[in-house]
Symmetry: C2
Subunit: 408 residues, 2 copies
């Protein structure tokens, strides 16, 4: 990993063990590098699974197969390949995924479609079957490893390993939720260039688990953006091993369902924000909050228009309270807005109201806010009750260096 992002947390968090989840890593050498790049997570029998996937039409075979597999709701294993996304590789890429599924399924004595595969890295090069076969063989017999080792192994351009945890009480029992994620570029809603995996020991019916995941991603993974680009491989999977001993949750009405959902959402939000904190070249973490829109969806589109604007993002990089660019980004969103009701703030300091700069506002606290690492931009449209919050990072020389020098 390259220089750790200045926005990274101080250390990888302490994640609880999740009963029924065993992690192992190995070297498949998908690229010429001296690090583990293949992650194998073994899941106890009867583990339920849910998933959300990229909406990019040019998706990988892994995504195509994953979408089908989650419909069955059962998982025994997860394999993550780092260094090669296997996207845009046609039938040869698909064969590699099928080979991996069969190899792991034979080892575990399960069905092929209980083995989930993700790959991340360069597009257009079929995943080499020989390297995959040897790597899987090594991983299947490796010693179990820590969450942090797994989080490091799924990473590619990430500058720090990302994990998060939460707990909830379900039916009188404490259940745990732990997750890891990778991603730092090609990040935009409908799944960032991002692979995220969340595990819980709670017992949950697959249909409810899918609803919980879909709900949780709406305001978390789908509310972050680094560069407005959407990967062909993005995936978030949620596994529930059922080892906590609670009576299986079947519906939202069951006691503890809301608490578990809140814990899953908390982990998803933490992981999503860490992806932004590792945004390529990021020097500032930006929260964009839009209020007063005609509806929540409208608010989200306006917020993303602000968060994706290169001119807003470079202004924040330059610590410039350039609210005119925020006005521009609100206006170009194509959503209902009224120039003469619009108000803009940085932090808690309103700099424009009712379509005019706030007369004689104190620039000192605004400038101080922009000098910090966490910048909050607010836009109140003054039209209704719609609101949304999204997260992004600034656009810096670091982003250009990383992406203009990267070689395919």
């Amino acid at each position: 990993m390259t220089t750790r992002s200045p926005l990274a947390p101080a250390a990888f968090p302490a994640l609880p063990d999740i009963a029924g989840v065993t992690r192992r890593v190995a070297r498949a050498r998908y690229k010429e590098w001296d690090r583990c790049d293949l992650t194998y997570v073994e899941l106890a029998p009867d583990t339920a699974v849910a998933g959300v996937f990229t909406r990019n039409i040019c998706c990988s075979s892994e995504v195509e197969l994953g979408r089908e597999q989650v419909k069955h709701g059962a998982a025994r294993a997860l394999i993550v390949n780092a260094g090669n996304s296997n996207a845009f590789t046609g039938y040869r890429g698909r064969e590699a995924v099928e080979q991996i599924r069969t190899q792991v399924a034979e080892h575990l004595g399960c069905k092929d479609d209980e083995v989930f595969v993700s790959s991340t890295g360069v597009i257009g090069v079929p995943l080499p079957k020989d390297k995959a076969r040897a790597g899987i063989a090594a991983a299947l017999t490796a010693d179990p490893c820590s969450w942090e080792a797994a989080a490091e192994t799924i990473g590619t351009t990430d500058t720090f390993a990302k994990g998060a945890a939460a707990s909830a009480v379900v039916g009188g029992r404490t259940v745990h939720v732990a997750g890891i994620v990778k991603g730092s570029g090609m990040i935009a809603p409908d799944m960032a260039t991002m692979l995220g995996y969340i595990f819980t020991d709670a017992a949950v019916a697959p249909a409810l688990l899918q609803e919980m995941l879909s709900e949780a991603t709406g305001g978390t993974f789908n509310c972050i953006t680094v560069d407005s680009d959407t990967s062909t491989s993005d995936t978030v999977l949620l596994f529930a091993t059922g080892q906590a001993g609670n009576t299986r949750l079947e519906s939202w009405d069951d006691a503890g369902a809301d608490a578990l959902h809140a814990a899953i959402r908390q982990v998803a939000l933490d992981l999503a924000q860490q992806v932004v904190r590792d945004g390529e070249g990021a020097s500032k973490f930006i929260e964009v909050q839009v209020t007063g829109a005609t509806g929540d969806e409208s608010a989200k589109r306006v917020a993303l228009s602000i968060a994706n604007s290169p001119l807003v993002k470079t202004a924040v990089a330059g610590e410039d309270a350039n609210w005119g660019r925020v006005v521009m980004a609100v206006g170009k969103a194509g959503e209902p807005a009224d120039r003469d009701r619009l108000a803009i703030r940085f932090g808690d300091h309103w700099v424009a109201k009712d379509g005019l700069p706030v007369e004689g506002y104190d620039e000192a606290p605004v400038a101080a806010h922009l000098k910090g690492q966490a910048v909050r931009i607010g836009a109140d449209l003054g039209l209704g009750e719609g609101r949304a919050t999204v997260w992004t990072c600034d656009l810096t020389h670091g982003y250009i260096s990383i992406n203009a020098d990267y070689r395919s």
Copy 2:
């Protein structure tokens, strides 16, 4: 002006005089700078006018008034203020525009709404009325100036003055078309951060003139993008003085209408491409051509998705034939596409076909193409007959430097 863009033409072109068009410039000192920043173009009586304006909802008073004025179809003068966009300045900004219109109208003995005003520069600071009044007074009595002087005076962050010309034969008479434009950032379709003015001595009915302009902008000014940001002030006006002596064109069926339209479109295309060539930080001029889409509008959306992708633009800056990022950008556009029919080329060299890299393609000519200043990216979707071409530039350290250091 700062360092001239490496993509700039060698020199400002020779533009013909347009009978009935007189240019003058003056110093209003809207900013602390030692240059002319106020342009006054006097137009002969009976000049017809057409206009297209930004779709940004938070538009300036100039745009609001201009939209109303073009409905009357008559123009006697154009005023362009550089250094202050007068956008998001409420009633005080509007008063400044009305003052300018009245001052010029009294001088010419025309109606206020025959005086068109544009402003470009910082948002949120009302145009100072005293500076405008003194500047207008100076401009009204200044000596006529060249096209190049006018093109320089309307510019702000532009690194070179932009002009273009063409001619057509209408009813046995040669008519001329000349235009100037400013813009280099906050550039995206539905008008870039861009002010463009095109003049012809042809006689054309205002309704037909409007149709000609709207048609011409669809494939030119609305097919360029620098940073996907849309300004609050963008304007293109087309003036027809009627001094060439042709029988006034009333409809598309009149002899010469198509020829004049072609000349107008040629000037619009030339000017639009010059804006891209002056894109902030640009080192490469990029043409994106999409074919095989289900329709032309769909093709345009896919082309803009490619042209606006930071990852595609940084890859071109790095001279990297990273077609995987092009695939990603096609897939995220939300338009009909089929991964396994998609083909990608750089220049005339196909690097991927039918959803797979072209086996053993020769990388040398592809690399050579990317080293040039003009890069062509092609994507064939293999679905239908829809096609579109858009133009953009690469995303470089220069863009970050310009926009993170700019102070509002």
